[in-house]
């Protein structure tokens, strides 16, 4: 059985690993391949700071909160393992800031030590009158994606540097199941008007004295359009740009100015930080994640696609829960194939 994963960001690679881990012993003929035109460090995932934190509200998508929780718990269990550093995984504490009181988030009991900020703590952040403190996780993709790649390579998964133009192309090659993890460009394989780019830009600086993440929120301007500071293991990421519908992957001088000024106002110590890099990326934004099976029929043949894309700005946060759900969908495909009898003839 040939399985092709399209996309090698955090969603593609983790889904590949999850499926391989669970089914390779059950399906001796399992052959897995990854196709992507961009690999680490050039994926959207690589540009993200890597902080585990869902949006403030799941808009009734309880399923997404559960997947995020599954991801957090999975990562937390790995914290004490020798692989943690190689994975780019570590604990980090920090602040979420608001200009007015807000309801507690859906994830307050998932993270560690969630609480409201005290008056003295709010003095740290003039202009903000309410906030949260909690300990969460960082998962840096510039380490995590290579780690996933190594695990997959060890398992015999093959990688191809190729832009897939259509699902048919895969099926014509003899692929039985396609896992569609194409992120923001999923629309090129199958139109999806609900999928839009959420353009972001970040400045990477050297500021090793910053030990906390600081995320500000402006209810009016929307998620990620307010400054944030996220310290990584080597660099600190400054951001605060979210432009819905903007496909431009070039850095904007105006956005640089916005990020720099806002972040320095938020944290004056940043004025002495050395700028190392600037990066823009397109969050694959969707009202909710598309995680579902689709059976594509073409004449006599029938092929299966599992869609797993549209994770917006919370891909790292939710990735493992989605990978497990995709693996369950894969399991159901296997069940049906057994029930259905020998494999269908292919064109």
């Amino acid at each position: 059985m040939r399985v092709a994963i399209i996309g090698a960001g955090v969603i593609g690679l983790s889904t590949a690993l999850c499926i391989h881990e669970q089914y390779h012993s059950l399906v001796p003929s399992l052959e897995m391949e990854v196709y992507a035109d961009r690999y680490t460090p050039h994926t959207t995932s690589d540009g993200a700071a890597g902080l585990w934190q869902p949006y403030l509200s799941d808009h009734g998508n309880l399923q997404e909160t559960l997947w995020s929780k599954e991801t957090f718990d999975h990562l937390l269990r790995h914290l004490g393992s020798p692989a943690a550093k190689e994975m780019g995984l570590f604990l980090i504490s920090g602040y979420n800031l608001f200009t007015q009181p807000v309801p507690d988030p859906s994830w307050k009991n998932i993270v560690l030590g969630f609480r409201n900020l005290t008056a003295k703590e709010l003095e740290l952040f003039p202009g903000y009158s309410y906030g949260w403190f909690n300990t969460a996780l960082m998962l840096e993709c510039r380490s995590y994606l290579p780690w996933l790649t190594n695990r997959l390579t060890q398992r015999g998964v093959k990688f191809f540097h190729k832009k897939v133009e259509s699902f048919q192309e895969m099926f014509a090659q003899g692929v039985d199941v396609v896992i569609n993890c194409t992120g923001v460009r999923a629309g090129e394989l199958q139109p999806d008007p609900e999928l839009q780019p959420g353009r972001g830009q970040v400045i990477k600086v050297l500021a090793p004295w910053v030990k906390h993440f600081i995320i500000t929120h402006d209810i009016k301007s929307g998620i990620y359009n307010s400054p944030y500071v996220i310290p990584g293991s080597e660099f600190t990421v400054l951001g605060g740009i979210y432009q819905h519908g903007n496909w431009n992957e070039e850095n904007s001088t105006q956005d640089h100015k916005t990020i720099w000024e806002n972040c320095c106002r938020l944290l004056p110590t940043l004025q002495k930080a050395k700028i190392v890099e600037e990066w823009s990326g397109l969050r694959p934004a969707r009202p909710f994640v598309r995680l579902e099976r689709e059976t594509l029929r073409h004449g006599h043949f029938q092929a299966e696609v599992i869609h797993n894309y549209g994770h917006g700005g919370f891909g790292i946060t939710i990735h493992w829960g989605c990978a497990m759900a995709a693996a369950r969908l894969f399991g159901s495909i296997l069940q049906e194939k057994k029930v259905a009898g020998p494999p269908q003839p292919r064109l």
Binding site: F90, L112, L117, F133, K211, T269
Partner: protein, 398 residues
Amino acid sequence: MSPGRAARRLGSGLGAGSGGSARVPPGNARRRATLRRGWGPPPHQVDTSLLWLCILEMAAPKVAVVGAGVIGLSTAMCILETCPSCSVTVFSDQFSPNTTSDVAAGMLIPHTYPGTPIHVQKQWFKETFTYLFAISQSAEASEAGIHLVSGWQVFKNTPKEELPFWSDVVLGFRPMSKAELQKFPQHQFGQAFTTLKCDCPPYLLWLEKRLKATGVQMYTRKVADLWELHSEYNVVVNCAGIGAHQLVGDKELFPVRGQVLKVHAPWVKNFIRNGDGLTYIYPGIHRVTLGGTREVESWSLSPDPGTTKDIFDRCCSLEPSLRRAQDIKVKVGLRPSRWCVRLEREVLSQGGVKLPVVHNYGHGAGGFSVHRGTAKEAACLVGECIAALQVSSSKAKL
């Protein structure tokens, strides 16, 4: 000003109950009589504006500070702040990065001195915290090496005192949740909070830079006897730390040897400390300090390899990812320990000559936590010494 003239007014202190001091309010006569043993009234209770008047009368009083660790340098700073016309000179056999302070992690978590009233220790801590907090929020923070850090203090068994005296000075102090404690399986109880860290050398170098900018001279010189300085200085301030054992023969001062590892592990963003104070992980700007030991009466400054392994293992059991730490450097420091901090005035006397001294040493494991508070108090004591000299000098003129 000749020592002879000062001698005639020995022991008169502030407000010498003499007719000539019309500037001195009567109430001060009471305070004058109290010989300070290790602590005194909080600095703000001393009438500093009055001292100012006295000090202005004396042309550029000369103050020598012995010691260039965190105590010496911060005391020199405070002296200049309260007495800008003073000329301050720092003498030390060691400067950063070779002081005891450089070995310390510089975490603002107080050590309790058995011999100092808690309210005084709290005031010292609060002053220090407030002072550093302001720097940590300014553009100078990275140069000064001051930054906020959050973390956990964990206990294998629930401690008797669940709320330390400083719990309302640090930020966000609260007991750890059950979920948080799961990360520390052998521990039953814990506290989470956010505090400040003073990284050395940056903090000491920043203090040195600011001192030099105001004209303070610094000399690498081992002062073997405070009297060496009497001919050129009006007041000597003894911030010699563990050096005071030899310098002034203080038998109540003893070393508590601490060995630490400074490692490269930049993914460690939170501090972790065992409530017994023996095992700790403190992330600094560039390195994480892993500790430690508390070896009473050990004078050895040589790193012990067996101890290094023991510290590393203890820290890794609290934070397993430390197994991947790189570039391990081993350091040793001798905490200048004492039942209480010696923070007091003394007038030394030798063959009819007097030398006013202010002692500020014996901070043990808590130097960073209280440095600014004790430096301010020491500066006030210096002001009192100068005022006393001025009063006696003007009396001599009558």
